[in-house]
Symmetry: C2
Subunit: 190 residues, 2 copies
DNA sequence: CCCAAATACTCAACTTGTTGACTAGGTCGC
DNA sequence: GCGACCTAGTCAACAAGTTGAGTATTTGGG
């Protein structure tokens, strides 16, 4: 029921196709709202039925037609109402953390491998976010940007994504150190 | 399908009732795996059917009977296998971040109120985590704990929860400052 | 020249997660 | 001594999310 708000928040930047939205979600919304393309398409149909978005079919010569969605006045209103409501606490699901919690009774080497992989992923994500950030700032300093830009929302959420991933990197490194040292100790003592 | 792994990770600490598990989830597992009591009870029945856990009914004099669950050898094995598998990327859902992204087109004052509330929540959580941490360390330094304790998994995940919430507090504060300044500017200039 | 990847989706089946109400006794504070 | 909250769950109905496959065309790399 709440995916729609995330979709509308992206549509504030203007028309987009389902496919565009899927990419936008992948690129930057994924920090705080994950979804599969299937969910998106299904939700878009419902939102159109509820008059929150309107679709404009664009016939393309050498490609399948696409539908470009944009916010209706009702949609904009619904989004504004959503921002005013109280929000549910963050819901997280992280299998790696479950594995770390159970690492003492599991395959420590494999958990370490997963931690290394996660760290790499997080580093790659930081790179992408930095690029998006540079694009948003567009040469301005943060100070300039924050006072002159029309929208600051996407920038603020991007900052959260960045610090989340930086924290991830640090945590993975910490876990690896601890598990490494323990491995050494357990090999030596018993 | 993966809630069961989180349940088994908690059961490594020993027998627990469905209710105990619900509390444990609320207190510390909630950082990386959220679930409702209903989900838990349903999953516990299935896990018992799959011989991953065993239930021992304890008759209580002045209370309804309770069932205490513990890991079976199969459950322990399944958990170890899980730790060795590759893990899905983190799935997050955070309505507040959606609201912040859409704040420019929404009710900025209400979003600020939500940010303040979230910050308070995060601060309260930090307090609880610090208390759990102190209990785990039990007077030892971190160094001592990490080399002497039987399990380090719960400690490591606790650290992640702590830094996540500290980051939350910082981010909320940052958003509030930015939205405050913008409010001032928008009131003054047009 | 062929294969892979990108564009732009759709469908069906299945598994999970959410909501709200209900049972039932006990204890704690005002 | 009454109402609220705690223990310890259960049930049903519904909403949401996941998985896997399928369609059809075009662009780009080796």
């Amino acid at each position: 029921m709440s995916l729609r708000n995330a979709v509308m928040a992206v549509l504030l930047d203007g028309e987009a196709s389902g496919y565009d939205l899927a990419k936008a979600f992948d690129a930057s919304v994924a920090n705080f709202w994950m979804c599969t393309p299937q969910q998106l398409y299904r939700e878009l149909d419902r939102m159109e039925a509820d008059d929150l978005i309107r679709a404009r079919t664009v016939e393309q010569e050498r490609r399948p037609n696409k539908r470009l969605f944009s916010l209706t006045p009702r949609g904009l209103e619904a989004l504004a109402e959503f921002t005013a409501e109280p929000h549910k606490p963050t819901a997280i699901r992280d299998e790696l953390m479950v594995a770390v919690m159970a690492a003492d009774a599991g395959d420590v080497e494999k958990v370490k491998a997963s931690l290394r992989e996660r760290r790499q992923w997080a580093e790659a994500k930081i790179g992408r976010y930095e690029r998006i950030k540079a694009k948003l700032l567009d040469g301005r300093t943060e100070e300039e940007f924050l006072t002159t830009a029309e929208r600051v929302g996407p920038y603020l959420t991007l900052l959260r994504g960045l610090s989340f991933e930086r924290d991830n990197v640090r945590w993975c490194a910490r876990c690896l150190t601890v598990l490494e040292r323990r491995g050494a100790r357990l090999d030596a003592s018993p």
